[in-house]
Symmetry: C2
Subunit: 670 residues, 2 copies
């Protein structure tokens, strides 16, 4: 194939292929196969359809593009480079997969402008795409007017076989079909190869039929390697279907162009090797040195800069008109996309005294959510089919359903993992929405990959988790978290808060909302059962992660540390010990990482090194607690699985009683 | 509806319904709706099809029954009681959901004989069913002879809307379709209600069409409430299809019989209340007191005892003939189902000296797996599409595929969660098979719910996890575990082993195999990168969880503690410090829980309390390490997400170097 016979479009596609091939070759690491096969569909999409402004990657009304098959990251980096983003230069491409480069192994939104979400863990990207499409639909329903479509963009996703095998994608896509998200368009790189070889060894289902079953509009491009017009027609047709998401199966050849490795697993995740690269160059008629893209190609793709500036200018003009006509909506919209909170928003959070009625903290959570929703209409979310257990409904507002996208209450169904990835997508729409997702605390296990990604990819989500201990009761050990708090506290960048009562619940929401606006997730753990409101708790102090609730007269002999429902046990035990003449301090430690973030002097003031007799009380695993109780302290904990019985019985049997706390405390006091 | 007009079968079905209604009412907790709606299909299945021996619930060739919708546990307890199991008496039913009862909130195989797997976390049961069917197909292919079907049973599953929404069920069912598991028959209780109300709020896909897309044989029973013959015919038809798993959608009414609550979410998960119970009794013509089942019903269902004894006697006779004809196969089969290991099996595990070549521990793992497979043909498993990264292939043996069920190498596809639940099912087939499932360590996040269930439900699985740190390298933070080890170590009953070299890898497999035969899971964490073989490591000592690798002359001033790839850093640092005249001990701590299980004297001998200067080195989160380093110690750890760069660069940049260990050690020494 000589260069002369190739169209400019073919040359553009080959430039994508060879940027990928050569970057992987230089790094001696990476995945050339997907970019080589998916370059045609990606080129058609970016060149003819995708609306973006490369010089302002955050332009609000851009189409969103997700490479769900994130291992093919060089596809995305090549596109960002060719289409004029400043975030990826040719030098960056040469630094593919190197320390602190803008071109890491998988697309990372926090490293590279133009990357919308972090992909790589398979199936997450397409599920994030459902979240982006939900965010678009919601904002469009709220802000668009008959004369102005302020919010009006598509979400495009390229996904592969791996994404389609993962359950998380199935959950999210079933839900997208239910919601009829017409502006979500997925291109499935159907290349029949995964790491273990042909998909025939494990994956022979009829994927298109499955998406039809989900209620998607489904098409098939038979020759995704060369039939650019068929790809374009399919995307046109997908855009024309407005009441269903679209799934376009595009059959391709992985490693297209490599004479000996195309259509094999060998080209999936390893460099081609020098000889094969040379053969591939010859085969595709690509005579340029590595990392050299001819100017005529750059001239063509570079037109995106002017085009993009035009898109944004048009939108800015439309927005100016909108603002003039609809100042109130515009003010709210600007606050949203500016990531601002309204003045005094936190004044709605209630405080309590010890005389107030004992309630479950999940009930306090419901109160906070509803009071906040009145001043923060950017709250949108719901539960994975436990709405009335998690108490996450925003009352008086409707359900987010097909044709009712303006409403904030999302029924995710029994799809925890999909919910997680969808919430991440909503947050990373970057439009000020604050998504929340709820289930029982134990079922964070089902969605842990998404929770981790919220922390890694700086998605400002609030995870609302109820039934946070063996106090859950009769459902038994399958439903009772033990190690769950520890496993979540260990995740970097995720603040886990387990409030003790009404005041701390309000404080937890204050932290969570502020963190969300700063693109950081927070996980809140609430009780199923009643807890008393305590005299010493504080809304404000939750932000410090730990603080003294009850203090002794002078240096304490013993420090009792509690969280959540067990703080009241510590307080009551301390009262009894104090009555016996002991000097006892009680520390509430609802958020470990926030406490660690305080300066040493503050931490010392709460947990003085000199006081080595320390007893922690938490109805969960002791794992991790020795950091606070030290080698001389002790923990009232549960280091086995729970049991089916009424919650109060479980707590009592497993030692979460004042008597047992007193006994352990006295043992420590000697 | 008067009793007189009801057939005996209808009475049996009503007895199931009212055992559920009354038990939930007494407990004031539980889920009456599913048992009331699914009682007809369950009755037809148990009464006409299911082959079991109630007086020997572990009879090998029994049909397996799984209630995947585990919240409907009273359905299963009612059946166990009516059909003559000793494990559930009427007194046990009265103790539903009470402390230490045989009738916990969700079915627990370790509490109640006759329960095959632990369900409740939705979607797991049907995926376990795929594992049971794989085990059956595998053993049948290995042991059956033209004249004797030694292994020949069905796996029946009742699942609900919740199970069908969960991604894990989709993964496993797609795989079951691929494998053509003809003896797996799933009955879908299609009742249109989940906790949030009508499934119309979240779940409107065409489930049957989806199962067709997976390659299942699909049927629909339109009236699952009363049309017993239609249910029976569908099960007959399902059994007749031998090359595909069968999915029978059975449309029912949740809470059938309750005049005011049937077909509402109100009957899903709460007691009906006294008035409604009375109305339901009247409506269904059930005049008996709570927990009273008329003798004619018990007489009918009780026939299962004789029937079951007959099944087992027939099988025993066939087995005696088989044993006479095929003594070699019978000996192996008996060893399997007896849970025994062959004498001297562990002698195949290799040991190494410091002169042996540095290799990744995943490579040592491959060696162990292959050497073990030669003496333990009960090993069966594979990877979630990372076979040649995890190095989990048993070489020279074929792939487990449709028509090749005798082979041990399973290609799970990119379905970690499904793999997890399938492995649990294989283990809980209770036939001596040792399943293993592999992926990158980070992707335990995708399958954590299944890993937890392996620990809870006593499933002897080996979880083979490779690429166990930032040493993973270029794939970057999405693929690099940080908090993962901590989060897994926190799970009760799960032994996590991170071996340092060849000897410790052999020791890890020795522990894992023995644990598997004792129905306990083990998770092994292996490096991607080379590690040296160390002089002081020991195969045998891994079982102690921690031991001294390098000791000082006299009481140490400092103890360095390492695991996995970082143990060699500790050893090298200790050599340098010793050369400088310091007294330094190095402790290897590959398995925390095994170390905790040692007596106090042993633990003190390894980590003497008096030595407070302790430095741990692990390329992972510090979370949990303070238990071992105490308040005066330190940890060389990584408490942020990783980065994309070559593995060696990552390790060096994040401080996993001899120099940094030395620097921290010297700081501690003062």
């Amino acid at each position: 194939m000589a260069v002369a016979t190739q169209s400019l479009e073919e040359l553009c596609i080959n430039s994508i292929r060879f940027l990928a091939v050569d970057a992987v070759e230089k790094a001696k690491s990476g995945h050339p196969g997907l970019p080589m096969g998916a370059a045609p569909m990606a080129f058609v999409l970016w060149d003819r359809f995708l609306r973006f402004n490369p010089k302002n990657p955050k332009w609000f009304n851009r189409d969103r593009f997700i490479l769900s098959a994130g291992h093919g990251s060089m596809l995305q980096y090549a596109l960002l480079y060719l289409y004029g983003y400043d975030s990826v230069t040719i030098e960056d491409i040469k630094q593919f997969r190197q320390w602190e480069s803008k071109t890491p192994g998988h697309p990372e939104n926090f490293m590279t402008a133009g990357v919308e979400v972090t992909t790589g863990p398979l199936g997450q990207g397409i599920a994030n795409g459902v979240g982006l499409a939900i965010a678009e639909a919601h904002l469009a329903a709220k802000y668009n007017k008959p004369d102005t479509k302020l919010v009006d963009h598509y979400t495009y996703v390229i996904l592969g076989d791996g994404c389609n095998m993962e359950g998380v994608s199935g959950e999210a896509c079933s839900f997208a079909g239910h919601l009829g998200l017409g502006k979500l368009i997925a291109l499935y790189d159907d290349n029949h190869i995964s790491i273990d070889g042909s998909t025939d060894v494990a994956f022979t289902e009829d994927v298109s039929k499955r998406f039809e079953a989900y209620g998607w509009h489904v098409q098939h491009v038979q020759d995704g390697n060369t039939d650019l017009e068929a790809i374009a027609k399919a995307i046109e047709a997908a855009k024309a279907v407005t009441d269903k998401p679209s799934f376009i199966k595009v059959t391709t050849t992985i490693g297209y162009g490599s004479p000996n490795k195309a259509n094999t697993a060998g080209v999936h995740g390893a460099a081609l090797g020098g000889d094969e690269v040379a053969l591939t160059r010859k085969n595709l008629g690509w005579e340029h040195e590595p990392f050299v893209v001819p100017q005529d190609i750059l001239n063509h793709t570079g037109k995106a800069v002017e085009r993009g500036a035009g898109y944004e200018a048009d939108w800015n003009k439309a927005y100016a008109d909108y603002k003039a006509k609809y100042p109130q909506e515009a003010a709210e919209f600007e606050r949203y996309i500016g990531g601002k909170l309204p003045d005094g928003w936190d004044k709605v959070l209630p405080t309590y005294t010890a005389e107030d009625k004992a309630l479950p903290t999940r009930k306090h959570s419901e109160t906070c959510l509803n009071k906040l929703a009145a001043v923060l209409p950017e709250l949108i979310g719901g539960s994975a089919d436990l709405t009335h257990s998690n108490l996450t409904e925003i009352k008086g507002k409707g359900d987010f359903q097909k044709g009712q996208y303006q409403n904030p209450n999302i029924h995710f169904g029994v799809r925890e993992h999909g919910m997680g990835a969808i919430c991440n997508g909503i947050a990373l729409h970057d439009s000020g929405l604050i998504p929340y997702g709820a289930t029982f605390l134990i079922f964070t296990d089902y969605m842990r990959a998404s929770i981790r990604l919220s922390a890694l990819s700086q998605a400002g989500v609030i995870w609302v988790m109820t039934h946070d201990s063996i106090g859950q009761g009769e459902d038994g050990p399958t439903h009772q978290p033990i190690e769950t708090l520890a496993s979540l506290r260990a995740i970097p960048n995720l603040t886990v808060i387990r409030p003790a009562d009404g005041n701390e619940t309000s404080g937890a929401y204050k932290v969570a909302i502020e963190r969300a606006k700063h693109n950081a997730p927070t996980l809140l753990a609430f009780t199923r059962q009643n807890v008393p409101n305590l005299a010493g708790t504080s809304l404000e102090h939750v932000a410090k992660g730990g603080y003294t609730v009850v203090d002794s007269d002078g240096t304490p002999e013993l420090i009792l540390i509690g969280t959540g429902s067990e703080l009241s046990l510590a307080v009551t035990a301390a009262e009894k010990l104090t009555a016996e003449g002991k000097k006892v301090r009680v520390v509430s430690l609802p958020a470990w990482d926030l406490f660690e973030a305080q300066d040493a002097a503050y931490r010392e003031s709460v947990l003085p090194k000199a006081v080595t007799k320390r007893l922690a009380v938490e109805a969960a695993s002791s794992f991790g607690w020795h950091k606070y109780v030290g080698t001389e302290g002790d923990v009232v904990s549960i280091d086995r699985f729970g049991a089916s019985a009424p919650g109060g019985v479980c707590l009592e049997k497993f030692g979460f009683s004042v008597d047992n706390v007193l006994a352990k405390a006295k043992k420590l006091l000697g």
